[in-house]
Amino acid sequence: MNPLRTINFILLFWCFVTLAPSVFAQQTGSAEQEVPPELAALGADSYAAKGEAIQALVASGHPRTRTWLTALLDGKLQRLEDSGRFVIVTENRGRDWTVIDAVDDAPLGEVSRRNIDRITINNALRNQLRSAMAILDLDAPSERERLASADRLLGEVDANLAEPLAARLEAEESPAVREKLAQALAIHRLQSGDSEAISDAIDTLSGSLNPAVRAALNGVAAGEGDAAEAAQQALASIEQKLKLNRAAETLYFGLSLGSVLVLAAIGLAITFGVMGVINMAHGELIMLGAYTTWMMQQLLPGQPGLALILSIPAGFLVAVFAGIIIERSVIRFLKGRPLETLLATFGVSLILQQLVRTLISPLNRTVVTPEWMSGSLVINEALSLTLNRLYVLGFALVVFAGIMLVMRKTRLGLEVRAVTQNRAMARSMGIRATRVDIMTFALGSGVAGLAGVALSQLTNVGPNLGQSYIIDSFMVVVFGGVGNLWGTLVAGMSLGVINQVIEPWAGAVLAKIIVLVFIILFIQKRPRGLFPQKGRAAEG
């Protein structure tokens, strides 16, 4: 066989292989789809008709019920415009979407989104679908799924569902699921009108912090008679528990806000507090850290968690690098001229912002929150701690401990303290003050970068990120006492808690103002902050 023919043959074969599926797809595409009536009904126009269709589908017990309901809930159940064929969309990014047949899962290739109509649902249908799926899931093998569906059914049990649910309760082994099922049935019994059943139900429900339970009890308590009284008592004891939870929650909110303040301020506590440099570009160093996180996530698509962890050293290094450039090119020429330093670094901050706007985009960037950081840690039904903030709180404490270690236990820390206390003396002892300046500024900047990595999980990553934190950072450092790292920690945490305690009754705007006024008054009284520098260093 001559080579040319071989190539021809290979090409021909390749053509066949690549074209064949699309030919087949074409064929299945033209074949009539036999739509079961239960599925066809879902394609109705009105939401009311769709609601009935969902009920009918669940009642029919069709083997694909679950697949269709899930697809409908996710908005993936759609119809081809020309043939009316029901399909499930498996990939809906871009202009052409990948679809499979809804009846037999046959792959149908890619279809332009123009030629495809979504079967829309609204919140009411979504509720109905979730309840329908919760009922299907009551027999699921995993305990977690059963628990979730029992939880879902609180307050949604009707006469039809009561019996199968009671049967399920008999068969159920997990105590947590049993408790939930019992509560769901008890809520149903509250409406029964039989006084014995009601008082029995109230016994079951008292002590539960679930909002659905409270709503049901509220309904009974509004009435009259023994049942109402019992319900009121149950509610009062629930209210007591809720108050405690609320206080714990506010404390957590405060500490979480405080940890953000501490993170943003701790770098500044080094550059401003220890070195005395007023660095208005501190916020932009935070921003660089946040953008580094975004960049890492772009480099490692699909692995947001790994990217986030790698961003911690990367964000630190990027900010260190930027800090060194700022120190070498601007700050060192303005030693001992605070006003000029302030203006020059403010200029630097504007330059950095516009640089990001021009080079990357004026639009905010999406930083993905990894799976293990979203959602919340449920303590009980009235108190759950949001995970992303819990991680940031922990991270802030680790960073703080790390800096204390560097300042207290390393040679660098010793030299920094020596230079800040008496520059001339330190130099005459052989410490290279210029080098220490660079190192200190770089450390402060690097910590700002770390703050940026953490903040990317809480707030917007955009060119303005830094601006929103610079004022707060200075506030914390000044309040805590310039030059004192412990002061920064205590100040940040207490400002956070104060803010969150005031906020519920004063509103977010007023709370901020009150905190500011409080700090101004405090500084009037104690100009050196919470923990003033003592001894000779304070004079300098």
Binding site: Y47, A124, A215, R357, T366, T369, S384, N388, N460, S468
Partner: protein, 436 residues
């Protein structure tokens, strides 16, 4: 020094000469100048820079079709840098120095209020593309975004009648648009029998990022047994941490839906929308609207930006409509002269992107359909409800005491933006109060 004087004198003479020959030339082959007044830096750049690109795309397309009145369109882009007084300066520069025929611009109400006296003084034309609080009607401004009756009121109607909401949280950013809108909504809700204790109003500063307390308060407010909804006029990027907190604290749209007036596709492109599915937004356009005109617009936009994932949003459609309205009015008038265009544009109607028509009303607002969309996991909205026909924008709200009696009609005999139908006079004292 000497040299400079000579050259400057030469410059002055030639400028005068050019100025004198300008009107004659302008009609013939000078390009028509289109001013674009959107922030390209500062905090609003995030929203406004997209609108600048939209205008550039529309102008490019028009030029490819041979321009307007046989003349090419020339965009004049300035950057007011999210600085409200600078907006007024830049508007003056556009009208006095660049002599633009029309301006498309502004986003925030405060920037519009700053530009308003300038366009009125210099008799310019301004097309304003963003939904706003109403209570304003200027002879020189055309409002192509929604007035409250084209967004807020229908949205509340939907929640009240279709979802059965009985308790309301009105949450907003602390500035003029949310405060006025919430005032209107509060009056409207009370008119419809909602008790004071079933309304919770909350304001937060611009760019607020710590939503823990507010979200947990909303959660508590909503667990009283009555169906609760949040009406959000939270502006700009404060929405991202707000929605993230909602998701983390497990507030589900099926329990407490949040309906937003300032969250569009572009804001959602900054967050993972999976936990937000089912939360609502009210707009007059969604990127997911299923019409060929819309798909063409999206394809053009993707091609123009070169970004496969570029999104379109409501203010972009408003500019699309505004540009076409202006274009048709210029064709109708046969000139770009401001007074002629102002008269010609009333009654002109052009297709919008959702399959209907947008007509310019005598009060300088346009007709728009109102769409309610639910957030999907791909960052798009799916339309769950829309008004049966388009709604005409109402400059003066019927639910506020000061503005109830005012109408706006810029056609010939009346020519008044705040005519008081009770006192039968133009520009009563009350109107002034209401517009503050």
């Amino acid at each position: 020094m000497k040299k400079w004087q000579v050259s400057s004198r030469w410059l002055a003479t030639s400028l005068v000469a050019m100025g004198m020959s300008f009107p004659a030339l302008a009609q013939e082959d000078d390009p028509i100048k289109v001013g674009i007044l959107h922030s390209l830096s500062g905090t609003m750049a995030i929203s406004e820079s997209t609108l600048k690109d939209t205008m550039l795309m529309l102008i490019e397309q028009q030029n490819a079709q041979g321009g307007l009145l046989g003349r090419q369109l020339e965009p004049v882009v300035v950057d007011p840098a999210s600085d409200w007084p600078l907006f007024a300066e830049k508007a003056r520069q556009l009208l006095e120095q660049d002599k633009v025929d029309v301006i498309f611009g502004n986003w925030t109400s405060v920037s519009r209020k700053s530009v308003l006296p300038v366009v009125e003084e210099l008799n310019g034309l301004l097309f304003y593309p963003v939904q706003y609080e109403g209570e304003e009607s200027s002879e020189n401004v055309f409002y192509t975004g929604a007035a409250p009756n084209q967004q807020a009121i229908p949205a509340v109607d939907y929640l009240m009648n279709n979802v059965g909401v009985e308790r309301w949280v009105l949450a907003g950013t602390d500035y003029v648009y949310p405060r006025t809108t919430n005032k209107i909504l509060e009056a409207y809700l009370k008119d419809h029998g909602v008790a004071q204790e079933d309304i919770m109003i909350n304001y937060t500063p611009f760019g607020h990022s710590d939503w823990q307390n507010i979200v947990s308060e909303i959660k508590r407010f909503g667990s009283a047994g009555k169906k609760t909804a949040v009406v959000s006029t939270i502006n700009g990027d404060a929405n991202v941490p707000f929605y993230r907190e909602l998701g983390n604290q497990g507030i589900d749209a099926a329990d407490i839906p949040v309906i937003a007036f300032s969250v569009g596709e572009q804001e959602l492109s900054g967050i993972d929308t999976a936990p937000l599915v089912g939360h609502l937004a009210a707009w007059n356009y969604f990127m997911s609207v299923d019409t060929d005109a819309n798909y063409d617009f999206i394809d053009n936009w993707i091609e123009y930006t070169g970004d496969e994932n570029a999104v379109t949003n409501d203010p972009m459609e408003a500019h699309y409509i505004g540009f076409n309205l202006w274009k048709e009015a210029v064709k109708k008038a046969g000139t770009t002269d401001v007074d002629a265009v102002k008269d010609a544009i009333i009654g002109v109607s052009v297709p919008n992107l959702s399959g209907g028509y947008a007509a310019m009303m005598p009060n300088h607002h346009i007709t728009k359909p109102v769409l309610i969309g639910e957030i999907q996991d791909n960052g798009q909205f799916s339309v769950v409800w829309e008004t049966p026909s388009t709604v005409a924008g109402d400059a003066w709200s019927d639910y506020l005491p000061g503005s109830r009696d005012l109408i706006s009609d810029w056609r010939k005999p009346l020519e008044c933006g705040n005519y008081n139908v009770v006192e039968k006079s133009c520009g009563g004292g009350e109107a002034q109060v209401a517009s503050q």
